[in-house]
């Protein structure tokens, strides 16, 4: 995904990008590329689980569901029906820092998405009967996630990492909070955050920018600006570094031993963010990466290992997930991970490896601009969480990362004393070991 900026014009993946702002504060990114007769429209709101008060936990995601349950101009199910009739697709996703609504439509009919988004930005119904019915769907979604050991483990580790900040909570919330949620509270939340001043609209693909901007104005210019972000947002403590290593564990009814290590990560778009992308790639991207080569290929201690630089607005998470090969003691795998991390911190990162990692990252960017939706997602996410120009400058930023920065990041951020180590162990084995220990204690007594 080669991006460039010159004479005030920006481009990414062969698309020309322009930014506009309506008087009510709505930011509009128009991204013109005629590779396919397709247009992606994504409306981003600067609100997510991070903005929820304790009693609102899960409301961002629940509200995302309710955005399909009726507004003044579109009754329950109408958004899906119209999208389907138009031969398009729609969806939505909620994160910690943003919530986004996506349409992909043929380029001769994409403007219908604007009508829908403008209507539900201002006139969402939030009907109490629909609210109660959809709560059951959300609870089933929660139950589905609760059956996934990786999700449970990562939630446990994240809760220990963030302690008091909303980043500690799962985006979907907790069953008790969801059961107690009321439609009035959701309406307040909607009014606080769903308005033009808190939104970014990305229109990407086979468009004529002038015509597209006129269509955006036609549908959105009449919507009032809404409260300022600072006024709508709630107070929350700054994420604090854990003091000393924390350990959490759980059991699961299968034979897997799963490891999840988390460290406080970088804020989106900072130098550390780009450097942690390099670190993550060096550790686990592909068969030539350090941890994969050592843990999976050479020693066979793990069946899988991955890392993820999950940068967020207020400082993210650096994740490491690994699964023990059967018969391998968890401590052995953990020690092998530690040895690799120590080496990364202790030795200067070799220049040939840095060159390789950078070429992996910059080449992989081709995939991030392959479709209109890919491009709109990349630009929109940066726009809401930091600055969309960062997406355009990605190659330059990655190429600028030095060996010294890689080592520094490992020394400063991937510290033992600031991490949480989580294990998910086989329930049967843990139960058997506990029983043995209890028997031994009785004998000694």
């Amino acid at each position: 995904m080669s991006g460039s900026r010159s004479n005030g014009r920006a481009s990414l993946g062969g698309a020309a990008i322009s930014e506009h702002r309506l008087q009510n504060g709505l930011r509009v990114l128009l991204v013109e590329r005629h590779a396919d007769p397709v247009v992606a429209v994504i409306t981003w709101y600067r609100v997510g689980a991070r903005n929820e008060r304790e009693d609102e936990a899960g409301v961002s995601h629940f509200l995302e569901h309710m955005m399909f349950k009726g507004s003044r101009g579109y009754g329950k199910g109408e958004v899906d029906r119209i999208t389907t009739e138009l031969g398009g697709s729609n969806n939505a996703f909620t994160g910690y820092d943003h919530t986004a609504y996506w349409f992909e439509l043929a380029s001769d009919r994409w403007e219908r998405a604007l009508e829908i988004e403008a209507d539900r930005m201002r006139h969402l119904n939030l009907d109490p009967t629909e609210f109660d019915a959809e709560r059951e769907v959300v609870l089933e979604e929660l139950a589905m996630g609760n059956d996934d050991p990786w999700r449970r483990l990562s939630q446990l580790a994240q809760a220990a990492l963030f302690m008091r900040h909303p980043y500690r909570r799962p985006i979907i919330g907790h069953a008790d909070a969801l059961r107690g949620m009321e439609v009035g509270g959701m309406r307040d939340y909607y009014r606080r955050f769903y308005h033009p001043g808190n939104a970014t609209l990305v229109v990407c693909g086979d468009i004529r920018p002038r015509r597209a901007l006129a269509a955006v104005r036609e549908h959105f210019a009449g919507i009032p600006a809404g409260p300022g972000y600072a006024e709508a947002d709630c107070f929350r403590p700054v994420p604090a570094l854990p003091e000393g290593e924390r350990r959490v564990s759980m059991t699961w009814p299968d034979r897997g031993s799963r490891l999840c290590m988390v460290w406080p990560g970088a804020a989106v778009g900072t130098d550390d963010d780009w450097t942690l992308d390099v670190v993550s790639t060096a550790l686990t991207s592909g068969r030539t990466s350090r941890l994969y080569r050592e843990l999976v290929l050479r020693t066979g201690l793990a069946t899988s290992v991955s890392t993820h630089n999950d940068s967020r607005v207020e400082g993210g998470v650096f994740w490491l997930l690994a699964e023990c090969a059967q018969g391998v003691a968890p401590e052995k795998l953990e020690a092998a991970v530690d040895a690799q991390l120590l080496e990364l911190a202790a030795k200067r990162f070799p220049a040939p490896e840095l060159t390789h990692v950078k070429s992996v990252l910059t080449s992989a960017e081709a995939y991030e601009s392959e479709t209109a939706t890919d491009l709109a997602e990349t630009l929109g996410e940066f726009a809401v969480d930091a600055d969309w120009h960062q997406a355009v400058e990605a190659t330059t930023r990655l190429r600028a990362v030095t060996a010294r920065q890689v080592q520094d990041c490992a020394q400063r951020l991937l510290l033992r004393e600031h991490r949480v180590v989580g294990w998910c162990l086989p329930r049967q084995e843990v139960a058997t070991q506990s029983a043995r220990r209890a028997t031994a204690r009785r004998r000694h007594a």
């Binding site: 397709v38 009739e85 031969g87 139950a143 592909g286 066979g300 059967q326 392959e370």
Partner: protein, 432 residues
């Protein structure tokens, strides 16, 4: 509604090794994708050695006569590329400027894999570890039980990855033999999509695959499947949700009712959003599930696929869910679909068909299916016309011909007992 037009030119070649090559040139595409489909797949697994075809394809990139595994990986990774193999062939992609590297590496691993003994053992251990966990996963188990109930002893009822026992029994020599016997030119279909000239692709692959023996295409075989009837199976496990699979033997892609069944599926249980009947009723109205869907066309292949409905729901909702699914199967057989529902499904299919081809990998996969199923090159224009011509009577006719609510199997994984499933099925059957 007008059909959006998408260009998908196809250049066809027959390589000297006997393989068929389809190339779709797409100027400006940032990604090049290749798909190499080898006919036979896990149908060729020897008895007791299930998973041999999967390991043969999956371990091809563990080393060749020219390069080690690490060298092969490095060649691709530095250009954002990757290649994976399985029982049915190889597929991969790379940033466009490096397309020649991708095709050279793919051809090399296809023609010259060495299956180093240590790497075979290592990968076997990994696959076995994976299978051990899969066998304790309620959703995976339920899906496998479902296939077993539908296909019985036929190889389609078996997992391509085999079992921990069969994988443990496979030795290096089995892989070498399987590769030599079955990975031959005449069984190979290759599709490439990217910014390159088709003739240049042909020249490169003709050269790189020159040592691949042509061999013989697979002889036609007779296939027998169990009669459709009510059967049930359960994998009991302590979890929050029960994963329920309900259905029966489905259709071949070559079935003349295919276009009408695609439309029927979109009224009944698949498609975007929640406009289909099953999603609307079971998810939106009853709040039984987050994920629920049903389709007969999605698995239609050279051999019959399945009609499969899925719902992940709480244990207390299992009966309502199964009854709800069966009620919708009956309704679409018993009553003509409304003009509104039919219109929405057809509009979607006609309008969206061409939109799903933005990715090079999707285009390469489509070209493979074009060749495997003997579809015409103008299928992209022809199929939307066929969708548009489907009537409410057609939908009811194909629903009656291909959906059998009283002969469904049910497989479930989670906190549920098989006796309960049988009882629900029996109670939900129509008398007579």
């Amino acid at each position: 509604m007008k059909t959006p037009v998408i260009e998908l030119p196809v250049a066809r070649f027959e390589l000297r090794c006997g393989a068929r090559l389809l190339v779709s040139q797409r100027p400006g595409a940032p990604v090049c994708a290749v798909s190499m489909h080898m006919r036979g797949g896990h149908s060729l697994d020897p008895e007791g050695l299930e998973g041999t075809a999967y390991l043969t394809g999956g371990l091809m990139d563990q080393g060749t006569e020219r390069h080690t595994e690490e060298q092969l990986a490095a060649l691709l990774e530095r250009s954002g590329g990757g290649l994976t193999g399985d029982a049915h062939g190889l597929s991969g992609s790379i940033a466009s400027p490096s397309w020649k590297t991708l095709l050279r590496v793919a051809a090399e691993v296809l023609t010259r894999p060495t299956y180093p003994a240590a790497k075979v053992r290592r990968q076997q251990r990994r696959v076995i570890d994976r299978l051990v966990l899969d066998l304790q996963d309620p959703r995976t188990r339920a899906d496998r039980l479902f296939r077993g109930l539908v296909y019985g002893d036929h190889w389609l009822g078996r997992s391509t990855t085999g079992t921990p026992e069969s994988i443990a029994a496979v030795q290096r020599r089995h892989l070498v033999t399987h590769h030599a016997r079955n990975w031959v030119g005449k069984r190979l279909v290759i599709a490439v999509c990217g910014a390159m000239e088709p003739e240049e692709v042909r020249r490169l692959l003709d050269r790189e695959l020159a040592t691949l023996p042509p061999g013989e295409d697979l002889a036609p075989r007779e296939h027998r499947f169990p009669a459709r009837a009510q059967r049930a199976a359960a994998f009991e496990a302590e979890r929050e949700q029960v994963h329920v699979y309900l259905g029966h033997l489905g259709i071949r892609r070559a079935d003349p009712d295919y276009p009408a069944l695609v439309v029927m599926d979109h009224v009944l249980g698949t498609g975007p959003g929640f406009v289909n009947r099953i999603s609307r009723r079971l998810r939106d109205e009853l709040g039984l599930a987050y994920t629920v869907h049903a389709s007969i066309y999605a698995s239609a292949g050279v051999l019959p696929g399945t009609f499969q409905a899925y719902i992940g729901t709480s244990p207390r909702h299992v009966r309502t869910a199964i009854e709800g699914l069966l009620a919708e199967l009956r309704r679409i057989r018993d009553e003509p679909v409304s003009a509104g529902e039919l219109g929405i499904a057809k509009d979607y299919l006609v309008g969206s068909f061409a939109l799903s081809f933005q990715r090079s990998s999707r285009r390469a996969g489509y070209l493979i299916s074009l060749e495997r199923h003997g579809l015409p090159d103008d299928n992209l224009e022809r199929l939307p016309r066929q969708f548009a011509a489907v009537t409410a009577e057609d939908v009811q006719r194909v629903a009656r011909a291909h959906l059998f609510p009283d002969k469904c199997v049910v497989a479930a994984g989670g906190p549920v007992k098989v006796g309960r499933l049988r009882q629900i099925l029996r109670a939900a059957s129509r008398p007579g």
